[in-house]
Amino acid sequence: MPPRSSDHCAAPLIFEQGALGRANRYVESGKPLETFLPHRLLRDDLPLPDNSELDVVRHFTRLSHRTFGIDTGFYPLGSCTMKYNPRVNDAMANLPGMRDLHPWTDDALAQGALQVMYELERSLSSLFGMAAFSLNPSAGAHAELTALLIAKRYFKELGQTRRDKVIVPDTAHGTNPASAAMCGFKVISLPSDARGRVSLAEIEKVLGDDTAVCMMTNPNTLGLFEDDIRRIAAAVHAVGGLMYYDGANANALMGNARPGDMGFDLMHLNLHKTFTIPHGGGGAGHGPVGVAAHLVEYLPTPVVAWQADPDADPSLAPSDRLRFRLDFDRPKSVGPVRSFWSNFAHAVRALSYIYANGAQGLTKVSQLAVLNANYLRVKIGEFLDIPYDEPCRHEFVASAAGLKKRTGVRALDLAKALLDRGYHAPTIYFPLLVPECLMFEPTETESKETLDGFVAALREIVQTAERDPEAVLAAPVTTVVGRIDETRAARYPNLRWRPRGEALQR
């Protein structure tokens, strides 16, 4: 094992460093606050640490060394699409004309920003077969909530207020039922069939005139394509319900098949997955929501509207001959879902990525994502169980149930042992229906050499487990900390530092 570096020393908190008055001179010293406001409106103290810029730079540089990102190494975290985040996208988002634009700027002085939103919206609509997208929602779960509010509003307009059931397969992401509950819908959980798919027969059992929405992920979280999707959609539509597409797995079919053609009425995309927006440690994301034609008027406000610019030079690109504005006047809209119009900097990144690829490139992206996943599936299948062993899409699940029975080594232990070998772990224990589940999503940006190296490492771990389970159970041993006492964290929550003298939290 490599020796522990200096990074293994516990990093002191920023609050445990610095000295009062060790200030950096970013602005001039202000006058006493009492000059401007009466004392009773002012705070008594501001107990934040003063640190020199060098100490702050070292602090966060040290913390970055204790953080694993895609830039650090292979990150096959299933359902999260941890692909390379191209640097040009960040550069485009950081152009002063993008970065410094205030959201209340008059439309006439923000035409470039509106054009970015327009081009992204039109491209996504074509790519996924929807009539229109709203760029407002901030993340996937936010988009689910928005879409379900749209459905609720739509049924209210139709006078069908009895529709209060949302159907969610057991392979669905946990956000699906949680979003449904936030809109006051009741959740019906649907079991998967022996092939790991939603069965038409099961869904027909629960359909009725109280069905509001059926939420599906395709391919599903087992990485399997729901090949009955047209018939499922027809059955849901036959009882007057709406079909919702959870776009978490859109990287599997982008440019090759479209949710709109499968019969979906509503969908969302995670631009931070499929369209290379950096995950940034868990956000900010961006979750545009797309709708079929009959739902466009319910989209949240504002939307980007456009008209031909009569004065435009006809030799310009088509979108350069348009005038744009934010349209807030949408009587049937569910209303706004966030403070301002969109996570605009991310819209810039996503559009930059689309420009880098074009239609052909994006089609290739999903093909190679599927190729990498299947290659990994076959290689890992040589030494771990693959419960649904058939060609997968962009991800697949393996199970350590057999290994656990033989050796006591669980999915969690394999994950921790991978950390010791310089890889991020796959998603574990999801989806819930596969015991000792490991979910791998390699993405298209990884080379065959990287995949081969990963397979060799995992194979060696499994062989070690068969021979010497204790060695795997002890992992990780090279990381800055060992396995975490999560029970203690949850039983005795310590969620913040407190200044000396203040009572400690229990």
Binding site: N24, W104, L127, V337, S339, V480
Partner: protein, 453 residues
């Protein structure tokens, strides 16, 4: 693009899989196969992408104008060290820190963020962040609704109208009703009816913003706060301009039990509205209701200090439809930017920036208020923005300022028909004396011109 596969790689991998071609591998049933050409932007090499986006950026002339815009998004100075640190690849390209052993750095930054928010608001706990100020308000209100089992909210009309609209959107899904507290003559909230309103124990929360949408420092009077607490109505404070926390008494001092807000001002770019970073802080008793991620400090198996995501059983991936919220992401990277910003500024720097906001906005207010045809609408104490009433139609005045490359303010008419003759103007530490002089000269000219534009 960004795929490393050679033809030889693809052939070898297909052979391993046992499939003849990529097309065979990705084939979908005929009834859902793609049948139309895709209509998307053309593929460009990287140097042309840079040109295309430079063209977009050029068209955003508002980004280069002299600006007095605020009203929920603020232009502040950001030290270059913020981006240099935040854009490190480890931070930028990590995911939610599920594997704590390789995420100690990011987890620690979130623990530090939670601490900064607690220290600034005077609350006991804070979460790892939510989407933005408006959704923080909606989530905070839902906490109070779930806590009390009541389905009415009492909300000041001086709360940011975008936030109130988002709250309305969320409430429409939950069948929750919203009643308004009126605006007083000084621009603060008229809280005289609060004690009577909450006495029947019908309200889940009473919600005020400070500084409010008109810039006025706006707190719950002691008697109203006590009445709310006595009826188990949760006082919620909204903070849309976090920089004010560097100067103003904490919301805890006026009995707020939940504090929600927007921390864009701490180092995050304006970026035409996002991404920004919402926060939710609360007193200890609300611990189990707080939505979103929480990072806790614990120990590893050797007894060494360590950080981890904790109290996850509240969350959607375990509780599913019974979760405190559907929220899955947090704005970790925006919160990291805010944390780095606060670390660099420290208490001395933050106080100085707050003082400069107070000073420059007073300079602006006195210059504008001195122009014939412009009048300060309210006399309540303000932080860095205020309302100006114009003798000429607001939209015409703003259009005339635009021709001089000045963004004069945010008109109130769309949200407050009663203030259709007014706008909100903002000055920060970046507002210069020269900018104020240009604005004043332009406004004088406009207010006295016989016909506009």
């Amino acid at each position: 693009m960004y795929t490393p596969h050679t033809q030889a790689d693809i052939a070898a991998m297909l052979e391993t899989i046992g499939v003849a071609s990529l097309d065979d591998l990705i084939r979908v049933p005929d009834d859902v196969a793609l049948k139309v050409p895709l209509d998307i932007v053309p593929a460009l090499p990287e140097y042309q992408i840079a040109r295309r986006f430079a063209h977009f950026a050029e068209k955003n002339s508002g980004a280069r104008a002299t600006s007095f815009l605020g009203a929920g998004a603020y232009r502040h100075y950001v030290p270059p060290a913020v981006a240099a640190l935040a854009m490190r690849g480890e931070f930028l390209t990590a995911y939610t820190p599920y594997q704590a052993e390789v995420s100690q750095g990011y987890l620690q930054t979130i623990y530090e963020w939670q601490t900064y928010i607690c220290l600034l608001t005077g609350m006991d706990i804070a979460n790892a962040s939510v989407y933005d100020g408006a959704t923080a308000l909606a989530e905070g209100a839902i906490m109070a609704i779930n806590e009390t089992g009541r389905t009415r909210l009492l909300v000041s009309r001086a709360v940011n109208p975008n936030y109130r609209a988002v709250l309305q959107t969320y409430c429409s899904g939950l069948d929750v009703a919203i009643d308004e507290l009126p605006i007083a003559a000084d621009g603060g909230t008229d809280c005289s009816g609060v004690a009577a309103a909450v006495a029947d124990k019908n309200y889940a929360a009473v919600i005020l913003q400070s500084p409010n949408f008109f810039g006025v420092v706006d707190t719950l009077p002691k008697a109203a706060g006590q009445a709310a607490l006595a009826s188990e109505t949760v006082p919620i404070a909204v903070i849309a301009e976090a920089m004010a926390l560097g100067a103003l008494a904490t919301p805890a001092s006026w009995d707020a039990q939940i504090v929600v807000g927007e921390a864009q001002s701490f180092g995050n770019a304006l970026a035409y509205g996002g991404p920004y970073v919402g926060f939710i802080a609360a007193t200890e008793k609300h611990l189990r209701r707080i939505p979103g991620r929480l990072v806790g400090k614990t120990v590893d198996k050797h007894g060494e200090p360590a950080f981890t995501l904790t109290l996850q059983a509240r969350e959607q991936h375990i509780r599913r439809e019974r979760a405190t919220s559907n929220i899955c992401s947090n704005q970790a990277h925006c919160a990291l930017i805010a944390t780095i910003y606060l670390a660099l500024l420290g208490s001395t720097g933050l106080r100085d920036v707050a003082a400069l906001n107070l000073e420059r906005s007073r300079e602006l207010a006195s210059a504008v208020g001195g122009i014939d045809g412009c009048e300060l609408r309210f006399n309540g104490p303000f932080f860095n923005e205020f309302v100006v009433r114009l003798r000429r139609p607001v939209e015409e005045v703003l259009a005339a300022l635009r021709t001089r490359h000045i963004l004069g303010g945010v008109p109130l008419g769309r949200f407050y028909p009663e203030y259709a003759d007014s706008m909100v103007m903002t000055a920060t530490e970046l507002t210069t004396t020269g900018e104020i002089a240009s604005l004043t000269a332009a406004l004088k000219e406009i207010m006295h011109a016989p016909a506009l534009v």
